[in-house]
Amino acid sequence: MFKRTPHIRLIEDTGSEASGGEPGSSADLDAQAKQKNIRALEACIKTNHSMLVGWIAKKVGNQDDALDVAQDVYMRVYRFANVEVIENPQALLFKTAANLAINELKRRGRILKRHVQVDDENVAQTVADLPADDPTPEQALGQKQGVGAMMEAIRALPEKPRTAFVKSRFEDKTYAAIAAEMNVSESTVEKYMMDALKRLRSRLLKKQTATVLPMPRRSRRGS
């Protein structure tokens, strides 16, 4: 179902038209910049290797596969370093790792299942139950809100409700599993979910009451 061709947005974006072939000193500068890229990446990989492998192993379930994924990550960031100037090697490394770990788990059908088969009984049923003449909230959402607005709404959630929501909905974890990971009780996870749902609704569904915007995340930290 999923082909083993994990994509990386970052690499695809730069594609083939990477500025090549300028003569003289600018080519030297290019080469120097690349050297610097590679060195920065090497240092970054060295620093984070064991942490990364440990993290991937937790996601994919075993050490051997984790090493394979990590290897793939390194290959891709090196390739990227050859065509683009990297401002933040760690960010590139982590983005690529997150992306490839997701691809690996998607390939195994372990996460993001609803993308292929929307048969979550409750949800499917409730949507089907809605009167047909009234545009379903989903349609309304689809028309008014783009992907960007949805991402903004998720990003605007406070840290813990966001983590709980994302893990529950997209990492396909049960509240019990999330509770263990976040080191809180299941009922707390449920509270985080409620909080997330309410905030998402007020941003995405109730535009008329949008004057009461959620506080910026920064000021909420530490509370």
């Binding site: 997701i102 993001l112 609803r114 993308h115 983590t163 893990k167």
Partner: protein, 330 residues
């Protein structure tokens, strides 16, 4: 006012039902309960449906949201690791000893972290620094590392250390040992801080050695290449660069001391760096005895045995712990 309150209430109920239904395990509330509630509260039921539908449409950004969440997880982990790294990078070579690493006060003020590494007598230790460089501490050595974005500083406060510096043109590596300052890019070299003179020996790469005296500011006194050594001290205005015996200078890195025709008095002085019980020569006639030998530094009694059997020496332990060496009567 009343309407708003009841609206609030109703929202909460819908969200509570939704949160329960999304738990991901099969313990969702009995459908009967849900159906009862729905038929009793049609308006709230619609809210619930809206919430669930919204949640479902959010699946469209699932992958992106998950990627951001995982990225965030990794950054948090890296941040934690960074704080622990100074400690984690320490691996003690000598068994039974623990390296003392102390965060200096500067860390409390959010500046770059100055970290102190220390070995006690008889201990050796290898430390992986955050930039990928490796430093090896000989016995009774103390050094402070301060890494900034554009500079890497090490101060050797006591003892002897071997550096294998990771090359980084944008971040020069400097080692200060007393009044001697060593500046490198990427190279391997040994620095020994002595009472009256400091010794810098280069195994590979290029090393610039500068010296400061009471009356002169810091100035370069030598540019060392592979295999070269300089001894800088107070008395020498223009220190001489010479070759050095790699085996004897760096034997300590493998836990050994190597001497080639070195007077016994100097050998004793050198060996005393490693052991608590001090060796002394009790017999002036053997002070100049040339010693050519390799000692294993892990055990002082083995060293003394070797001296006794190979050089016709007799060791006597005094009440205060000092070990006196005499020529054995034949």
């Amino acid at each position: 006012m009343l309407a708003m309150n009841s609206k609030q209430e109703q929202d909460d109920q819908a969200a509570r039902w939704a949160a329960r239904m999304l738990s991901g395990d099969n313990r969702t509330p009995a459908n009967l309960d849900l159906d009862d509630w729905k038929s009793e509260n049609p308006a709230e039921a619609k809210d619930l449906d809206e919430l669930l539908a919204m949640t479902q449409s959010l699946d469209a950004v699932g992958e992106q949201a998950l990627e951001e969440e995982w990225f965030h997880e990794l950054e948090t982990l890296a941040e934690e690791k960074k704080r622990q790294r100074w400690f984690a990078g320490i691996s003690s070579v000598a068994a039974g000893f623990v390296v003392v690493a102390v965060m200096a006060a500067s860390m409390l003020f959010g500046g770059p972290e100055a970290v102190t590494f220390e070995t006690v007598k008889g201990q050796r230790s290898t430390i992986a620094l955050e930039d990928g460089s490796v430093v090896q501490l000989n016995t009774d050595t103390k050094l402070v590392a301060l890494f900034e974005d554009d500079q890497r500083h090490i101060v050797v406060e006591r003892g002897e250390a071997f550096f294998d510096v990771k090359r980084d043109e944008d971040r020069p590596f400097t080692v200060a040992a007393g009044d001697t300052n060593v500046r490198v890019l990427g190279t391997k070299f040994n620095v020994r801080l002595g009472a009256s003179s400091n010794v810098v020996s280069v195994l590979s790469g290029l090393v610039s050695v500068a010296q400061r005296t009471d009356d002169t500011p810091k100035r370069e006194v030598a540019l060392l290449h592979k295999g070269e050594q300089v001894i800088v001290g107070e008395e020498q205005a223009n220190p001489v660069v010479g070759r050095f015996d790699e085996g004897s200078v760096l034997a300590w890195r493998t836990g050994k001391a190597l001497y080639r025709a070195v007077p016994l008095s100097d050998v004793i002085k050198d060996l005393n760096r490693y052991f608590d019980a001090k060796l002394e020569i009790g017999d002036p006639s053997i002070e100049q005895l040339p010693v050519t030998a390799t000692f294993n530094l892990n055990d002082q009694s083995v060293v003394i045995d070797a001296l006794e059997s190979a050089f016709s020496i007799m060791a006597v332990k005094k009440m205060d712990g000092v070990i006196l060496l005499y020529a054995r009567e034949t």
